[in-house]
Symmetry: C2
Subunit: 467 residues, 2 copies
Amino acid sequence: MSHYSVADMSDTIVALATPQGVGAIGIIRLSGQEAIQLCNEVFFGKNLHHQKTHTLHFGTLRKGDVILDEVLVSLFRKPNSYTKEDVIEISCHGSPYILQSVIRVFIEKGARLAKPGEFTMRAFLNGQMDLSQAEAVADLIASESAAAHQVAMQQMRGGFSKQIAQLRQQLVDFASLIELELDFSEEDVAFADRSELIELIHKIKNLLQQLIHSFKLGNALKSGVATVIAGRPNAGKSTLLNALLNEERAIVSDIAGTTRDTIEEQIFIEGVPFRFIDTAGIRDATEDTIEAIGIQKTFEKITQAALLIYIFDPQEMNMTEVENALNVVENTDLPVLVVANKVDLVEETKLVALTKKGQELFGENFLTISALEQTHLVKLKQRLLDLVLSDQSYLENPVVTNIRHFDALNRAEVALNQVLSGVEMSLSGELLALDIRQALHELGTITGEVTTDDLLGNIFGKFCIGK
Amino acid sequence: MSHYSVADMSDTIVALATPQGVGAIGIIRLSGQEAIQLCNEVFFGKNLHHQKTHTLHFGTLRKGDVILDEVLVSLFRKPNSYTKEDVIEISCHGSPYILQSVIRVFIEKGARLAKPGEFTMRAFLNGQMDLSQAEAVADLIASESAAAHQVAMQQMRGGFSKQIAQLRQQLVDFASLIELELDFSEEDVAFADRSELIELIHKIKNLLQQLIHSFKLGNALKSGVATVIAGRPNAGKSTLLNALLNEERAIVSDIAGTTRDTIEEQIFIEGVPFRFIDTAGIRDATEDTIEAIGIQKTFEKITQAALLIYIFDPQEMNMTEVENALNVVENTDLPVLVVANKVDLVEETKLVALTKKGQELFGENFLTISALEQTHLVKLKQRLLDLVLSDQSYLENPVVTNIRHFDALNRAEVALNQVLSGVEMSLSGELLALDIRQALHELGTITGEVTTDDLLGNIFGKFCIGK
């Protein structure tokens, strides 16, 4: 793992900022005190020292007499750049050979190859963004769905950071008051109004709980909703999956040059990714031992399921059998969608009775479809979406997607509960202050008021180079 | 194959300009009349219509209410751009999802997805560069060695284009004079001085021959010098190859983020690529049937060899045997480097005799080395380089690397020879003019004065998208 030290900020860093490989354009990025000077030494066309910020300059990049490339140089003067330092971006021809040669020239001139995420780390350290916003940059780049993209974008642009920072500041003020009391401890004064403190803590806890609650959704949006399709052999599991996937493929028109690797078993419903967990290899139970065992085995094996679609053929199973089969699902929180398939083969009167019974038992989570005829698939998808989103709007409310934030929020809540019970027990200000400081610490790690080199190394080490 | 039509120039085109994949930055490029307008419709931050050329603007890119990304827009106003049209380059976060979404927005707004090489084709059609320069852009991007890079760079920046264009213009003037004679044919005048014509044609032919001659080198620099290492089993073929490769690997320090796929059997000697042809699978001859057969088989199989290294163990073979073995090489033009290996195991006096005999037979192409001890490898590499470059300096003189140019040059030479013999036979101006026109046509295809949609489609269809 890379190790970061704030002292490194004196260096000028350089890296390839575009993906590796051959392309029309490749961008090399420099940031730091010497960025403009270093570029000026090898750039022929204009004297960059005399150029304004946010301007573009055409010229050649040379190593001695050899022209390495004809390039376009973008000039950003501090603090009006991504890192708040002087930044140069050089747009070269997208040849790995050229890009490597150009980077090498800058390293020979004294620049240092940037560590992963070092540009964004500098942006954070120079106050361009807080830590959770910096982390959202990586999430944004990794986002593969509209939902993940929107959540990351929201967080990058502020998200819950500001709220946390504000409440934390109020808590800091309280901690200061309580610590002030300690100086006057012999006089038994209370500068910090305990009821106001309790009120503030409840306010913070409300926000924390809301954010903690959002993590389940956030995680699903980021990683895809883990969905299992279960059912007897020949109930239509594969037909359903294929029907869903095919429709998806038709929607995803392939814009040449930008198609991403197809994730075979992922579909997007209104931008929300659903990941179908491969249950192949889990032997379906034979008729005799009841399909229930099949389901149980599925869940013993696949504990990360967030959603179950149970599909059955109403010609083969009645609703009581379905109910029994589902009784073995131990995780009672797991949303289950019960889907009667092949209903095009079922008589009208029987279908009415089936639907009535199904809705009695499972309410809105009972659906009739024909996977083969592709009927009612839209309804099914809408229901899947509703089950994931419940009443949460990820577009309007901040959503936590980062497990580090989730952990810190939980630890902050524990610390705040400590403070609350401390107040109740009329603990001394000294002990109270300690618990408040702990909560402040946890909240501070989210937005980066509190950091360590290890924490930064951990976070930015996962970034790509050049970001 | 893509089909290009000049009529398409009225469209505004859009494409991803950076390599596919996840990176810090991805660039989307727009070119055409509507480029600034289309971008302005989705860009929030500044009104791009009021901004100067060669300026950079930070803002958000939106689709309706949804923020697709925070971006930097580069603005280039015609004719001061790559294509000589209005050009917008949008620097996005390097997420395939975002890049695809942004391209999609522009296509919905009326831009057309660019065909491969279409930006460069427009640059050519708008007079930014001639055709051979445009082709050099692709070569530049594909270049993997210092030599290939330098040759492509030289050609992109003009190379032999200007010379050809100038001489062609003089020939055009001659053709006009001769055609003028035709209008006065009854009066038997000769506006075009035949001796001057002959002189000009010789001048052009000189250039053509020089360029045609350079193709062998150019092709080697571009594709790597096809090199075969032959010799008896245990002569040290693999040891030599590994020694060369290992040294190479030590030189190529891996700059993270820019290392390219290692081509297992390629080494660069002062930037010139040598490609070692895998002769594994070709069974070495047994002692009895003489190793000569081994070599012959090698060449029956590998006809593209440009260079042969024959390696032998002087403890096992004497020079006469080596000479005999090499006698079967039918291609007498093929440069052969004879290498006595394992000389660290040979007695001093024997070594002196061996060297004397070897140099008598093969001159400078005889070398003594120890592949295992890595002695005299520098000398060997220098000799390989000398054999390829002969007296040609690819840094000073233009080098033809493109087979299309090579073919056109040859056809032009044939046509010029026709003109010469026509003058000698005092052919009528009419027939002379025909032959000159043919030569002009061939020369014109190189620089692009003469093009067809098919030719353009052929050339630019091989470019990457976004270039």
